[in-house]
Each structure stands twice: as C-alpha cells, then as structure tokens.
Symmetry: D3
Subunit: 287 residues, 6 copies
C-alpha cells in the first residue's frame, strides 16, 4: 500500500490550467512565437532544477501542454515526491516549438511554486525526523490553488488538515469570544453538528484546555503555547484526543515543539511563504 | 495627476473572489460559525498588521465581504499604497458575525499575499533610491492572480512589464535558438508584427547586444550581465532604446546593478518568492 | 441559541437559480407573457400550499425574482422550517406581471421539491419522537441540488451526514472488498488520513462490527441489520463510537429501528424519492 | 425509422456531469478511496436493478466515468428504453478501482432518478394502452435536469411538451386574468407572435373553450375538467385543434380521462414526484 | 397594448456584456485612461448618430457602464424603436471619466451593430408597406448575439422566426434528401414530434408544395420561387397554412415578392450583412 | 518563414464554438433532424462558395463538428488564406447525418462572417498594392468574436492593431480633452506607463502633430486628415515614428491615402460592416 499523494480531481486541474493559460495568452496567444518561429519548427526541452528540492506538480505538465497542443509529448523524469539536485531533469517536453514555448511560463509558474511548497515541507518534516509529530498545512493557501498546494505539502511528506470551512469544525478564539466561552461553543456544536463532523477547538491556556477536554473534542489546537506548557498539555490530554500545536513555528523551533510529544504541528508558512524552487526550461531545436 | 495604481477591472476581482470563496466554503459554508454563533450575533473586527509593510489588497476587502453578506460594512484605514507598522489597523469590518468570520480567511489570504508582494517591492525600490532604474515585475506570478500581483507591485512602487504573451514581443534565448539568431528573429518580427507591438529582445553578451541594436528594438533585456558588462551595455545603447537588466537580482545586488544606469531592473522574486506579510483579524462582539 | 438551519452560501444559490432560469427562459424569455400582458401590467401573487407540509426553500424566492426583475418584491409569510396546512400562504410576490409570471415555474419547481423533502423528513422525525435517534440524509441527492436538499432535510428536523466524498471517510463494502477486509482498510486510513478527518465504517454483521471496533472508528454504519442484531450491536458498541443504522428504512420500520438505541438513522428516500409538495401560485392583477 | 429518443446535446451532458462531480468530489476528491485502495487496484462492477423498471440514463454512464478517468470502460447491457427486472444488469464498468468508486454515487444518482421517471411514465403509458392519448411531461421538472428528465419521459414512452417558456405560447389562467379574458389574450398573441410559434390556451370551462376556439389555437388545454365535460369538449373541438387534459391526473384516473378521446394527457408527477428506481453497483476486484 | 419588443432576459445581457468587457479590457483594464486621466476626472458624453437610422440596443447601455462603474449614469434620449437623424442624441452618459471611456468601445460596438440591423430591417419593412407580408429574420445571425440581433430586427419592425434548432421543426432540402422525400419527412415528424411543436417545410417547386400540403404543415417555406410561381403557390395554399418566401430577397425585389400575397418574407441579410450604423461618442469634461 | 496567420488559442475557439452551439441547439438539440432522419443515416456534405472571396474560418470547422459528434470527419479543401470562386469547395464534412446537419448553421454563420471580413480586407489590400501602407483592423469588432475577426483580417492580408484597451496606449481626442492637451497626456503616459507599452496618439491637425512629436510617441494616428495634410504630416514625421491614417477610409479613397506615404491605414469597416460571403452546404446521402 502506497503513501503517495493523489492529484486533485481532473476538474480542478482543468480549471486551474485553463485559467492560467487564459491569463497568460489572452485571446491572442503568444505573439513572440508567432512572429519568430519558422513554420513547422519543433523543439525538445527539459525542465531542469537549478537548486535542490522536492518535486511536486510535474504531474500537471502533460495537461498544461495538451491544453495548447495535444500533439506535444511530455515525459516525466523525476516524478512528484522525488528529490532533485541542481541540473537534474524533472521532465522533457517535445513537439511543435510554438506549443512548447507558449506553455513554458504557465508550466514553470505552477511547477516552481509547488516544488517550493514541497521543498519547504520536506525541511520541516526532516527537522522532526524520528518523532511522532506530523507536519500539517493550514488554510493559509493561495486563493485558487489550495488543492494543489495541499498536494504539494503531501509530496513534501506533510499531512493534511481540513480543506475548508465546510469539512470540519475548528472553533477558534473568535468563535469562543462570540459564543461566550469554550464550553458554550463546544456544547452548541455537540447539539447542532451532524455525526460525521470532526471537531477541533483552539485553546490558548492550560485552563482553557482543561475546560475544552470536558466536552470530548476530537482535536485540541494548542495555540502559541510555550514549550513547558505544551509538555503539560500533552500530559494532560493523554490519549483522550489529538493534540496539535500551532503559532510561532519555524524551522528553528519545530523540533523542540515536536519533542513535547504533540501529534501534529501545523505550519502556515508551508503555503503562504515558501519561496519558489528555481527551475528552468532548456529548449533546443528538436533533432 | 496621481501615480496611484488602479485596481484590475471588476470582472477580475469578481472572478478571483468568487473562486476563493467557492474554494474555502464549498457548497456547504462555514460549519463552525453555523454551529457556534448565537442567532443575530454581530461582530466588529480589525485587520491589523503584525509586522511592518506596504499595504496592497485592502481595496478588495469590501468585495470579499459583500459577496458573503451585502450588509457587512468595511472601512479602510490604511489604503493600498500606504505603509503600516506592527499593530496598525488596515481596515475595520462590522456586521453579522457569520459573514465576518466566513470571509476572514479568504480576505487574509489575499491581503497577506498582496501586502507581501508590495512590501518586498518597496524594499527593492528603496534600494535603488535616487537612481533612475525602475523595479519591474516579471511573468513569474501566481497562476490566477497575475493582475492582482502586478497591482501589488505597483502599490510597492514598482513598475509594469508586459502582462502576458499577448501584449508585447519579448524574444528570449529559446526563440533566438529556434529562429537561428538574434538578427533573423528580429527581422521576422519586423516583417510580421503589427505596428502597435512593442519589441524587446533578450541578449546575453555584448556581441549579441550589438547585433540586436542593428534592428532597433524598443527594449534590450540584458540577461545575467556582469556589472562591468552592464556598464558597457548601457554606454553602447545610449538613448537608442530602453535597457533592462534581469537575472541574479537580489536585495544585496540591486543597487550595484542600478548604478550601471540601466533603465529597468526586472525581479521575478517580487511575485514568486515574496513571503506573506503577517496580518491578523482581531474580532470582538460588536457593542 | 437557535437550531434553525442556514442557507447554503450565496454562490450556491446564485448558481442554482441562474441555471434554472437559463434552462426555463433560454435566450429568448417568456413568450407568453411578452405577447399577452398589457404594457405596465402589475400583479400580486401568493404562493399557497395545497397540502399540509413543512416549508423549505421559501428563502430562495427573493433571489429567484430579483434575478429577473430587481423591482419585484417578495414577502415571506411562512418561513423555512414552519408548517403549513392547505390554503396557507407561504409567500407573496408583487411587481411587474412579466417578472412575476416569468419566475413562477422556477420558483415553484424549487419550492415544491424542497418542501417535499422537508415534509417527508418531518414525518420520519415525528416517527422517532422521544427517542435519541436522529434522522439523517445520505448522498442520494439530486445532482446539482445537494446543498439545497440537505438544507431541506434540516428544515424538516433532520440531521446532517457527510456532504460529499471529500469531507469524511466512509469505508463501504466495496472498499472493504478491494482493501481485503475491514481491518486492513481501517489501518490504511489510520496511517494515511489527516487528523481532521472523521472515519466511519460500514459493517454488515456483528463479527465485522467487532473487528471494526478494534480500530476505534468514529462511527459504525450498521447496514441492513435485523432489529435483534441492531440491539446487540448497540450494546456491543456502548459509548465507544456513534452508531448509525441504514438500509431498508421506511416510515413503517423506522421507529422499531430507533428503539434499538442507535444514534443515527440515515434514509436515502428523504432526497431520492420524496414527492413534491403541492403548492400553487395564485395571481391577480395588482390593485 | 426509429422512435428511440435522442440524448440531449453533448454540452448539456457535460454541464450536468461536471456539476455533479464537482459537487460530490469538491476540490479534494474521494478521501475513502484514496486512503483504502491499494496502489494499482482495479475493479469490475455491475449496475444492477433491484426492482423492475424502464431504463433511462444508462447512456450517460460512459461520460460520467470518462470525466474521472478516461481509461475506465463502460459496457451497456440494458440500453435506455429497455425493461429490467430485479437483478438484471444494466451496465458494467471496469478499470482503476479509484475511478470506479469515485464515480459510483454520481452515476447512481443520475441513473436511479432517470429510471424512476421512465418507469413511472411507462406505467401511465401502459394505463392508456390502445387509446389515442399520449402521455406528456410538463415543466414541473428538477431545476438543472429538465433536458434529461424529458429524455427519461421519452424512454418511458411518453411524449414531449414545450421545453421552456421560450419555445411555445401557453396562455394560462394567470395570463388570461391579467389580459382580461381568453379572447383578448389570443388576439394579442395573433397580433404579436411570429409565424413559427405554436399557441396553446388553457381553459377551465366549456364556455371558455368555445370562446378560445374562435381564435384557432393550435392546442386547447382542458384544465381540471370533469370526465363528462372532457367528453363534451372533445366533441366540441372535433378536428379543429389538439386537445390536452391536465390536472388531477393519477394512475387511477388516467384511463378514464383517455377514454374521453383527448389527444394528450400531461402529468406533472412524471417528473416532480417519481420515486427513484432502486439500482445498486456491485463491485468486485477485477480478476 | 404595445408592440414594442422585449429585451432578452437579464442573464443573456449579462453574458454578452461581461464577455465583451473581458475581451476588450483583459485582466488589466484601460491603460490609456489609467495613464492619462487626472484623478477624480469626470466626463459627460453623448452617443450621437452620424447617419439616419432606427435605434436598437440603447437599452443595453446602462448595463454596460454599470458593469464597469455602478456610479456612472446613463440617460436614454432616443429609446429602442425610435428613429434618429444625423447629430441626434441617442443617450447621455456621465460619471467618472475612467468608467465612461473604458466602456465606450464595447457600448458602441453593440449599439452600432444592433442599430445597423434595425435600420436595414426598417428599410425592408418600409418596402412592403401596406401589404400583408411580414419581414422576418433567419438563423443567419452572429454567433453569441442571436437574441440581441432578433431583438434589433423587432426594433426595426420585423417579425420573429424560430430562434434555434430546438424550438420548431423546419424541414429543409437536406432533411428531405436524407429522409427520402417531403412526404416521408412530414409523416415522420407527425409520428414523432410532440403536440406543441410548430412544423414548417421548405419546398422548391409547386409539385413539392402540393405534396407537402397533404400533411397539413403549419408553414410552407417557398424557397427561391419565381414571382409567378409564388403567386400560384399562394393561391394553392389559400388559408390552409402560413406561406413564407425566402431566397434571393433584396431591397429591390422584396416588394414584388410581397405583392404575391405571401404571409412572411424571411431575409438573412438583416443579420448577416447589415452594415453598422455610424454612431459616435462625444465626450467633454463634466462641468 | 511564413506569414500565414495563427488561429487564436484553443480556449478561445472552444469558448466561441460552445457558446454558438448552446445558442442554436439549446438544451434540446436539433428537433428536425431528430424527427426526420432515419436511424443510422449518414451524410457527406460540401461547404461551397457561391461568390468569389478569401477563405477564413475553415480551420474552425473540425472543432465545430467534433463538439457535436467526434466521429464526424472534416476535410479542408481551400484552407484559410486561399481564394475561392463560385462553386469552389471549401471543405467536406462526412459522418452521421444528425451531427452534420446539427452543426451546419453554426459552421456557416462563423465561416460566412469570417470569409466576409477576409474578402473585404483583401479588396483593401489590393487597392494599395505596391505601396508601403498596411491595411489594419480597429477595435470596431463584433463583441465576442474579436480574436477571430482579427484572424480573418490577417487571412485577408491585413495587419494587426492593438487587440484591446489593455495591450497598448492609444490617446484619443477624448483623453486629450480630459487631460488638457496632447502634451500633458503624453507626459503623463511617459511618467506612468511601463517600459513595455507602445504609445500611439491621435491628432487631428498638423499643429497637434507637431506638439505630439515633441514627446516621441511610437505611433501618430492622423485622424480625418485631408490628403494634402496627410502628405505634410508624413514629411513632418519622417522616420521619427510610425504614421497611421484613419477616418473616412473607403475602397474608393484608400489608394489616394496610401499614396501619401503613411505606414498604416486602419479601417473599421473591415469588421463592422463586411457583408457575409455567400457559402452553402450541399448535403447528400453518403454513398
């Protein structure tokens, strides 16, 4: 049984890729290729890493080029989830030069971003190696690309959180404030939510944690706890529910947080601040 | 006359915001607010910077919340293009708590990213202060968000480049390779392009530059030139066309590049690797 | 705190209503009104029940007519969740006769269907009155209308299940067959699913139930159990997880099933076979 | 020459199927299959009737599965328009287990509903066997699915009515009320409608019928007439136009209505209240 | 009672206008206005005819500008269906100069085309003044604009034909050829079509007309008949059905055709070859 | 190297063709073919010119028919850019008669319009034969079809102008009026526009031209100049920028305008008033 992540459904890929092509090509297309390429020119090009990283998004490349020219061929060399070093090939693309060049930037924009997310996730996962803590994403994703960025987190070895507001309950400080406390908020959820909904509650102190545990949440989100408080929290919770730490997590601090024994560490930076991985497309005339 | 940037057209904002809300809320909506908020609860909340930066995207906030609940009110405190310090308010939002909380994450995801782009741009612009060089974006943008990211670059004091493949000619190394040289490529463009198309050509050596200048391009893109070669190139070009430097630009290197006298420095990192600006939404019950 | 259900997000209502109007009006519009109505004719009309039932979908009426003519006014008389008897008014609509008549059928098609779902749900809920069992919907909904039909179930007093394949794990017989047993399937889920995912497993025998319980599912779905086996299953589970019964549930059998003590009874017929509630629109010239 | 009904155009099928898959899979996909299925698992499954009925919608199955995984194969066993008994196979689907299982519910939701409509129509058609009356649908269809439901009515042996407000004139009581009588309404139509528009008028008494006939409508819709009045109406009309009966039609009453000699009997229940046909998907590992 | 034509439904206007604005503004907007207009500049502008014609499409102007800037105001001076001479004002628009100028070309492109269609239709209608023949459009319309062009034909005094393939039967020579004759084709339609479908048949000779009349079509389309044959055809048909002439109709020939007594003359040129009416937008600074 | 124009991107073709089919077929399809064609009937048909002209749009035909029936085959006989005389075949289409006939009108509506544009452009281009002037389109295009109409202009030998408001600056009289003169407008552009934007300015007198030239525009648009003034303007400009003439251009006047030596003549009539080329589809049963 494999742990390899699954691409989002075809309708998501289709929507993202069509949107990106419409954005870059407009209604007119690639003027430069139109004006400079000899009729019938073909090209063979290689997506090649210029830095070390974890691949994510290579699986999108065939669909990007197929949307422009179904006759363009893409061969994956380093599939999603694999590691690359500088100069390593990720994929090769060949066919009519106009199609290859028209798709270059959309392909790279998707690939560099998703590899960037996967590469940063890999670093966090490596930092907690040997401990039980999983590294999870948050909802701090790029509007329109959430499904792909979550996929990239998984390619980096990270774990999933809720996808959106619609698939789990996460009671945050703002809900607690309006509802009048952790207890009233959790009681309201128990009374009103369906039986298939997972419930997490964010707490910011050990007292609030103790109150929350009286209502049997599925997850407690320990927000901005100090390391000693995290340790106390983990002991207090025991096996009663899942513990998740968030807030102020960095590559420097993540191992200490994991050593407290929390089950999950969620890191917004995986998706909101990952620098793009440097990847280029080296094009040559096709022999 | 103002230099303040203009928001993309309404249909672009509408497309991005609807897409982001569909992504985060699905067909179901915000389960947590539904289950925890008392009927009729209202909230007043403040978008507040947690780090110093340049604001971009605050102008989107009214449309985000209006798409959820037309009765929610947004008041902009720090408009796009202004600077904020930690704890400064950017905007206030008030109305039904369900609408305020359902829009929180989409609003923040847009705002933090665009402020991040503007803030990084501001740093590059400041680094070349007093010199003639403009800092420009590239097409290395987030798929689906290009118009907004370019707007954020402008809020940061940056300048525009071409938007897509369809609105200007930029002959890159790959076109040159397939066309058989800078000269043939430029000649083909002159023969085939309409009279309203701007033409830029990328060159990677002084020799190639000299060849390019024989065909009167509107812009020469000096790719990965050393500082001495940039100086020579600027002298060689004189006032014949616009000079643009790109490749290997960082906050450390940008001033030296600008001191060569180039007109434009294009920086992919402005959009592909800007970390999000840290901004929070502090929510209280509305008095 | 209210248990009243929340309408799906505005983008869902907008999509359904626009689609329905495009379908009924085409690109041409309402030929009959165009040809027969005097210029400037106005009308006042009443949506009136012709049978007893529970109202759901009245809250959509303002948006239906506003999409045709923003000047048409809708006044809700019997809001969603209320009960109506024959001849009771549900809502009144007034304005230009062309707008009122053009929206009549789309409005009724939505209203009659959703009231039908709510009314059938109400009957199931009444049948288990005083017992702990909740009546829940399934995913056997009308393509395109799931969010609205789930809302109608809630208006009828029913409870929610998972919305789609993407928001919870429900291991069914087919997954068990391919995975090689309940145990392997649950172990795989535990190893691979994120910490925010609820897990339910369908079992069809007490033996399979016993195996499932070893893996601490959040819910066990007791499929097509006899009443005695349901009683044994409820005792076996105790408070370890939620129990859900499904299969062969009818208005005749549901109380006996509920008396076994199961927590949830899911009923596909609520959405796949509810007859429409008979509702008419009585139109008069506006005085 | 065949009387077999034609599927709606490809763009309609595409819109319905994509919408249904987006609704059920969201942006994430089928979590359960993702977590439980071994890599490379294939499945062969059979859509099998669990009750007697008329098939409609099997022709959609290839498109449903192709939208998820073009490599999944569908073989139709009982094509649309054929009759099935319990345990009869309708179609077989085989390929990657993930694709087969992800499409199961969308496929069944479409198939069960459309077979339900066809099966109920078949019953009405059988009830008037040997008489001239055709059984026709109305516009009381499910929003978004009208074209498919009309197709299902045709698979059940029923006949078509107008599709929407845009393709024929049907003057109803409400138009008559606003226009000031049957005569003024029909005169207005004659003066203003194009020459390619069919005109039907609803009448609720023999007097109104007599008035209507003075204006040569193409169809008279006899609404809620008693059986004796229907007989009188049919005699009165003779061959001057088509007669259609509607209102209060049930499986019990339909034959008596047909025996009056009316040409068409329209039945809203065909589409607004047909229970789903019980159909299951039996999945096995592919040998 | 009015004969003024009705605008297509709001969803059609919305689709056309949004598509046109996306096409002209792209994701970026109006660069020239952005760069040249002083902040806060307002403008008042007048749509003014530069040639004589019939107005159609002025009713779209408010929606065009509202889509760009809801604060722009439009005042209609010469409503749809009225006649204008050179220099006559059609509408005035006022508000922010950026909105007025950004919408100018889309507004004019719609207005000039629709006025062109209405003006040409007016000429055909005038040419048959005093005769019974109506001038009707065909389906030879601009893809995407059919509903608006039919509306323009009506503004010009023309009459409607079928809108599309889906709202009436028109048996053309190609159907006759494949079906094996006019008789078989009409018999097949009678056997298979619903009772609400109008049936027209195209004939190209008096013999074919005689054959067609045996099957009681609603309309006979006399294609490319000579004037004497048209006269014979009209006599032959009498009051049995509507007669329509088509083929080779020009402003020169149309009166002679109408004098044969045909009911309808359909003219493809109304929509496929009408030159745009010359209209300008005169802009001034708003005082 | 070829000067043959390139089709717009696939997403544009897809959008136009799907929209046109939805418009003509609705949700129902082609009633006439459905009722009249024998089961399994095939047809072979030829698109044949009935007048002389230049072909444009034949390249769309495969996509039109594939959208209806992927098994229909299209063979291009006279490709885009070639010339046809009456009775010349343009393309042959063969396959199921239902698909061939359902696509006929959409195919012809696109083809006749685009050939009309190309044919009129060819006439203008021929009229300036031997002179340096290029014939260019304007933005006076059909809403929704701009990319295709520009392609047709290119098939006719014409040259491109800016596509939309977003890809170049063109300062028109209205901008000049609001900005306070040609000088202020051009200065504002120079200060605010990015370095990749082409700048054209419309002038209506030699004085205004002289003022404009002080700001080094890329193009001057000489609007409604007399022939002598055009000659003076061309001499005044020399090689400083591109000269474009517009306004009052007709087939009669265009050569005299071109003889003044202007570089470009833009002609709105190419797209706003080109009559459709007469083309028919001759269908036969397939042998």
């Amino acid at each position: 049984m494999s742990a390899s992540p699954a691409l989002p459904p075809a309708h998501v890929l289709d929507r993202v890729i069509r949107g990106a092509l419409q954005e870059d090509l407009g209604d007119v297309g690639d003027l430069t290729s139109l004006f400079t390429l000899p009729v019938g020119a073909t090209a063979k090009a290689t997506f090649r890493a210029r830095a070390s990283g974890r691949v994510a998004g290579a699986a999108l490349l065939p669909a990007v080029f197929a949307a422009l020219d179904p006759a363009v061929r893409v061969r994956l060399v380093a599939p999603d989830g694999s590691d690359v070093a500088p100069l390593d090939a990720i994929a090769e693309v060949s066919g009519a030069a106009a199609g290859v060049l028209a798709g270059e930037r959309v392909a790279l924009n998707l690939l560099c971003r998703l590899c960037g997310v996967a590469t940063l996730t890999r670093a966090y996962v490596a930092a907690v190696d040997g401990l039980i803590a999983r590294i999870a994403h948050t909802r701090k994703t790029t509007p329109g690309l959430r499904a792909l960025e979550i996929y990239a987190v998984q390619c980096g070895g990270g774990s999933s959180h809720r996808f959106g507001l619609n698939d789990a309950v996460l009671i945050k400080d703002n809900h607690v404030a309006v509802a009048g406390g952790v207890g009233p908020a959790l009681m309201a959820v128990r009374a009103r939510a369906g039986h298939m909904v997972h419930v997490s509650v964010e707490v910011d102190s050990l007292d609030q944690l103790a109150e929350a545990l009286r209502y049997s949440p599925d997850v407690v989100l320990l927000d901005n706890f100090s390391i000693p408080d995290l340790e106390r929290a983990v002991r207090l919770v025991g096996s009663r529910c899942v513990t998740e730490a968030s807030g102020g997590v960095s590559l420097e601090s993540v191992r200490a947080i994991a050593e407290t024994g929390v089950d999950v560490i969620s890191v917004g930076a995986l998706t909101h601040s990952a620098p793009a991985l440097d990847i280029g497309l080296d094009v040559g005339k096709q022999e």
